[in-house]
């Protein structure tokens, strides 16, 4: 029994790892014997973002600390990695490539200890504001001090340092991808392990009830501080991998938008479940590489998605999946199928109408300035005509009203099912 239960707990992890290992070969161009560069760099990006989102969730989800300077540690890891690689290239730093991210992590840790000592005296909103200030402090400094940060142009390096444990030179993207995958797996494993330690448990306790945590003899400030420092360590590893992949680190790696991104990934994925941020990181990276190529208005969609999650699904995607657990175990998931299908059409109408309106609006100003033609849903569209506007607005309104009805009936089915499950117990 326990063996099969352990197996059923571990199989998703094993499947994810196997898929991640196979990914570059799925998109491999066998005819020309080379990997797909775009895909591999996207998967590498996913790996880093998974580390960033998970380490961010050590603060937001596990310790209830709402940090706004997480990219600072990511960026510092990246910048220091560039300098480490340059030193290694000159022969001053005899560390194999595979262990380099550890150095970047330690830099992140050192900085997180310094800033954590200041920030973790406070919590909740004051903590958020202090971290905002710290993030701005470092990113402003990055533009001013050229020696370490290189100013606007950033600092660049060459990752082929000819020193590897396995004799690899990391010239190709696939080798780098596997390095990133290995470090992502190691960091994820370590972060999961941390949630099982007394530190992880106390972080949860200090999040849920500050006074009680104090009462049983722990210092919540100390717990917060250690948690903050360790999350800086993992973010630094992520930043190190970023530097290895792109061989250049600029101001973007530690500025506020990346901190906000970490928050988005963790929250949309779901902060209450350990694997939630992984889901969020993969989804947001996919959206970012896909949608931002297609549309100017990427930020509006992210913002709306984010606000919708905050209002309607505060537990995130992983939380939604988690909520289906009891129903799945009782074998009644099939009864949700039809209500779900009925949600699909109005949601589609809503999304199409919204996307249509946003795109039309953005093409009125930005698109016109760029002199491009609007191509939407497979055909060119004249933005001056009334028809597209009317159709989009109609879709939006009808979808919204219809979705309200369907959501209400879905709620009835859902409540009925959960009530049934409760009465059975």
């Amino acid at each position: 029994m326990s063996a099969s239960r352990a197996a059923s707990r571990w199989w998703p992890t094993i499947v994810v790892v196997l898929v991640a290992i196979a990914l570059p070969w799925i998109f491999y161009d066998w005819a020309h014997h080379r990997g797909s560069g775009f895909m591999i760099s996207m998967f590498s990006q996913m790996g880093m973002m998974v580390i960033l989102a998970l380490s961010y969730n050590m603060l937001l989800g596990q310790a209830g600390l709402f940090s706004l300077c997480h990219a600072t540690f990511f960026g510092i890891g990246g910048y220091s990695m560039v300098h480490f690689l340059n030193a290694a290239g000159d022969g001053d730093l005899p560390v194999p490539m595979e262990l380099m991210p550890l150095l970047a992590g330690l830099t992140g840790l050192a900085l997180a200890i310094v800033f954590g000592a200041m920030a973790t005296k406070q919590r909740a909103t004051a903590f958020a504001m202090i971290t905002l200030g710290i993030g701005e402090l470092v990113s402003t400094a990055a533009l001013m001090f050229h020696h370490f940060f290189g100013g606007e142009g950033g600092v660049s390096t060459n990752r082929m340092i000819d020193h590897s444990l396995f004799g690899l030179n990391y010239a190709s993207g696939i080798q780098v991808y596997y390095l990133i995958l290995a470090w992502t797996a190691i960091s994820t494993g370590l972060m999961y392990f941390l949630t099982q330690t007394p530190l992880g448990r106390m972080a949860n306790a200090a999040r849920d009830n500050f006074e009680r945590a104090q009462f049983i003899g722990y210092d919540p400030r100390m717990v917060r501080f250690i948690q903050f420092a360790l999350s800086g360590f993992f973010a630094g590893i992520g930043g190190g991998l970023y530097a290895i992949t792109y061989e250049i680190v600029t101001f973007d790696a530690l500025a506020a938008p990346l901190s906000a991104n970490a928050l988005l990934m963790a929250y949309i994925g779901g902060v209450t479940v350990f694997a939630g941020p992984i889901l969020g990181a993969i989804l947001i990276t996919l959206l970012q590489s896909g949608v931002s190529l297609l549309s100017n208005s990427w930020l509006v969609y992210v913002g709306v998605l984010f606000i919708a999650m905050v209002i309607f699904a505060p537990t995130g995607l992983a939380g939604i999946i988690h909520a289906h657990g009891p129903i799945r175990r009782s074998g009644r998931l099939g009864r949700l199928l039809v209500p779900y299908l009925r949600l699909v059409i109005p949601s589609l109408a809503l999304v199409l109408g919204f996307v249509g309106l946003v795109e039309l609006l953005s093409f009125l100003t930005i698109g016109a300035a760029q002199g491009r033609k609007l191509v939407l849903f497979g055909g060119p569209i004249d933005i001056k005509a009334t028809m597209p506007w009317a159709i989009s607005a109609g879709c939006l309104i009808v979808g919204m009203i219809w979705l309200r009805f369907e959501a209400a009936s879905f709620h009835r089915v859902w409540d009925g099912l959960t009530a049934e499950l409760k009465s059975r117990r």
Partner: protein, 315 residues
């Protein structure tokens, strides 16, 4: 002497502008516990609206209408947004306002484009008010001082001398008691939120042509305003005022000081040579790191006095 006087006046103007933004933020925060990240975005919306209205009706109607519209936007945000997420806790509220930042930022870009707007000082106020030591002081800056001082007075009278102010002050500390006495606390919340947004909009109207009206103005202003609120102490209007003026002074004086730490060390006999990280840090002139100073100040005050200048409570 001339530089000092002019910088003093400019610092005062900038500080008052900061205070107009920060006072709304700190009021909203101390009453609702919500840190409104979208506050600077409202400031930006105020500037854009003022530009649009001043194209049609002129500057002075815009001075009245744009802040009112911003106040209405505030009502909408509070009633349809914040109230819904309120039961999910403070973090959900913070996240909600961050989402708003993205949306407002992009909507503004979609409506008005990416380029700076030609929002200019009205011709009526476009003359030098007086001249000190050969340097002109623009009348518009005097007008900004006047507006912000008037606003300061109005807010003070409203909060300290009227019944509404009394209820608002009571709701700051004892919202449940105020509710038990029969006042509608959610309406008080909405009023305060709308008032804060109105002030931010007003700051946008008079700040939009003082600085530039462009899509990056919210990102530029936001962090400084947060620094002011933290520096002054969360929830303290007086502290907020002092912090605003200090920040305004620091920012304007930093621009004109062309000394570095190395210049201080030189008389002692320490001369710096070479090109290393340390010498760069020591020889960079203050004027170049002016943008850094507010954040350094914030970190310093948090180190020595975590609750801020006049803050009364930890959060």
């Amino acid at each position: 002497m001339q530089i000092v006087l002019i910088s003093l006046l400019n610092g005062l103007v900038y500080g008052m502008l900061l205070f107009m933004l920060a006072s709304g933020l700190t009021l909203i925060f101390s009453m609702m516990g919500v840190l409104n990240f979208a506050h600077a975005s409202i400031y930006m919306v105020g500037a854009y609206l003022a530009y649009q209205i001043s194209q049609v009706l002129g500057f002075f109607p815009a001075l009245i209408i744009a802040p009112l519209v911003c106040g209405l936007i505030g009502v909408a945000i509070e009633v349809w947004g914040l109230r819904r997420v309120h039961h999910n806790g403070h973090i959900a509220e913070l996240l909600f306002t961050i989402g708003l930042v993205f949306i407002i930022q992009r909507l503004v870009q979609m409506t008005w484009g990416m380029l700076p707007m030609a929002y200019r000082v009205p011709p009526l106020l476009d003359f030098p008010l007086f001249t000190i030591y050969g340097a002109n002081f623009a009348a518009y800056r005097g007008f900004m001082l006047l507006v912000s001082a008037g606003m300061l007075l109005c807010t003070w009278v409203l909060l300290k001398k009227t019944r509404i102010g009394l209820i608002i002050q009571a709701s700051l500390t004892h919202p449940s008691m105020v509710g038990a006495l029969g006042h509608n606390v959610p309406v008080v919340f909405t009023t305060v939120f709308a008032g804060g947004c109105l002030l931010a909009g007003l700051a946008g109207v008079i700040g939009g042509n003082y600085q530039t009206t462009e899509p990056g103005m919210a990102d530029g202003m936001g962090p400084i305003v947060f620094v002011v609120v933290v520096f002054g102490g969360l929830g303290s209007l007086a502290g907020c005022f002092i912090a605003s003026i200090i920040m305004g002074m620091i920012q304007t004086f930093a621009v004109v000081i062309d000394y570095s730490i190395a210049d201080l060390l030189a008389p002692v006999g320490l001369a710096l040579h070479g090109d290393t990280l340390l010498t760069e840090v020591l020889t960079v002139p203050v004027s170049r790191i002016g943008g850094l100073l507010p954040f350094v100040m914030m970190v310093l005050i948090l180190f020595f006095r975590p609750r801020g200048l006049l803050g009364t409570r930890d959060t």
